[in-house]
């Protein structure tokens, strides 16, 4: 369990408090810029150049290159914002969630009451 989780003590949970928000500020700022189509195009044209415009740590950049959403969460990324990055690079909410749970998308869907309601 990371220090950020310890603060709240809820297993498997990264409460988005000011501490985590400060840590992830650059990530979330970059992700939120992707609500504009021209920025999404620029991102897709050159991911490294786009990331370089924001003050991301190398660890955060690597989590983004790896599409490692759990790691990005640990580094302060907030799903409400990185969902816009996901939409840009073709990762939807439920596959992102399955990955954070450590499951295949198919196995994740089996845990849902009505998996057709996507």
């Amino acid at each position: 369990m990371s220090a950020d989780q310890d603060r709240w003590g809820i297993p498997g949970t990264y409460v988005f408090d000011l501490n985590l928000s400060r840590k992830g500020y650059a990530v979330n700022k970059m992700c939120n810029s992707l609500r504009y189509a021209e920025n999404r195009e620029a991102y897709l044209a050159d991911e490294e150049a786009y990331m370089a415009r924001y003050n991301l740590s190398e660890e955060q950049k690597q989590a983004i290159r790896d599409r490692d959403w759990l790691q990005l969460t640990r580094l302060g990324g907030n799903l409400f914002f990185f969902l816009k990055l996901g939409a840009t690079v073709g990762h939807g909410l439920y596959p992102i969630g399955a990955q954070m749970r450590g499951e295949s998308y198919e196995d994740f869907l089996k845990t849902r009451n009505v998996p057709e309601a996507t």
Binding site: I10, T13, R35, E116
Partner: protein, 285 residues
């Protein structure tokens, strides 16, 4: 005198908006949800006939980012735009506001020691949009009600306490009832119910907790207002913590309320609910 004529609790899950826009009302996975809202929509149209709705919601980086996220913000404009969150602008009409009523609410709330961020412009995202067309049928270019958006920070801790949200609702009631015009006012608290969208616990739903919430928000909201964020998030998921917005709605109602309709459905990753309440008696909550 203006009065509060309906209190609604409703989820604001984005997938509901997508299903609505894609006309999935008859899709077996979605039909229960749309059918579940239908009696509330009919009640609002045929009996409640609200002139204006105060809708309590949170913004998701559309109008407010983390650089300056207000704890409470109130729309004071005569119109509000439908936002594009980056997934395409939803085909819904922009919303008419009631700037005079908003101004009165702002004056009353601030005098009552709720220091709101006041917004002359406010684009509205799914936090606001999702419940609206399920509750009021939009026309081609218009809505049958005016709106007052009321934003609560449920994104970045420290969030206001449940108790503070309940008290804000109580202050809203005083504000509404001191408005001289004969307005019929509905109040909608959005969000929840249980869900978690981060970490290894992604996908948590607690149906038992949700069902208890739908009862206790009626009978014992003051006990719910006493729950800590940690208690709520442990049981109902980190993002489930946003249910405090229902407490604003409940605080604006009478102490006793009558349930007109209740619906609950938990298909994927959120306990989706709608609860319709009317006032009973005159004692404020």
């Amino acid at each position: 005198m203006a009065k509060i004529v309906a209190g609604i609790g409703s989820s604001h899950v984005p997938s509901i908006g997508r299903a609505y826009d894609q006309n999935k009302q008859a899709d077996p996975a979605w039909q229960p949800l749309f059918d579940g809202y239908e009696p509330v929509k009919r009640w609002l149209e045929e009996e409640v006939k609200a002139d204006v709705v105060i809708l309590v919601y949170n913004d998701h980086g559309t109008e407010f980012f983390l650089d300056r996220y207000p704890t409470f913000a109130l729309g004071v404009a005569d119109s509000y735009q439908v936002a594009d969150e980056g997934y395409g602008k939803r085909p819904l009409p922009d919303f008419p506001g009631d700037a005079n009523f908003s101004e009165h609410l702002a004056n009353s709330l601030v005098a009552d020691e709720f220091d709101m961020t006041l917004c002359q412009e406010m684009a509205l995202d799914h936090g606001f949009l999702t419940a609206m067309p399920l509750l009021w049928e939009p026309g081609e270019n218009e809505w049958p009600v005016k709106v007052v958006p009321l934003l609560v920070n449920v994104i970045q801790h420290p969030l206001p306490t449940g108790q503070r949200c309940f008290k804000l609702g109580q202050a809203l009631r005083r504000a509404v009832e001191s408005y001289p015009e004969d307005l019929r006012v509905a109040i909608v608290g959005t969000g929840g119910l249980s869900h978690q969208l981060n970490g290894e616990r992604f996908g948590l739903i607690n149906e038992e907790w949700d069902k208890a919430w739908l009862q206790n928000i009626q009978d014992d909201p003051k006990a719910l207002a006493q729950l800590s964020h940690k208690e709520v998030m442990t049981a109902a998921g980190a993002e489930g913590g946003e249910v405090i917005m229902w407490l604003v709605m409940r605080g604006a109602m009478t102490e006793q309320v009558k349930e007109r309709h209740r619906f609950y459905y938990a298909p994927m990753t959120t306990g989706m609910a709608v609860l319709a309440l009317e006032n009973e008696g005159n004692t404020p909550a």
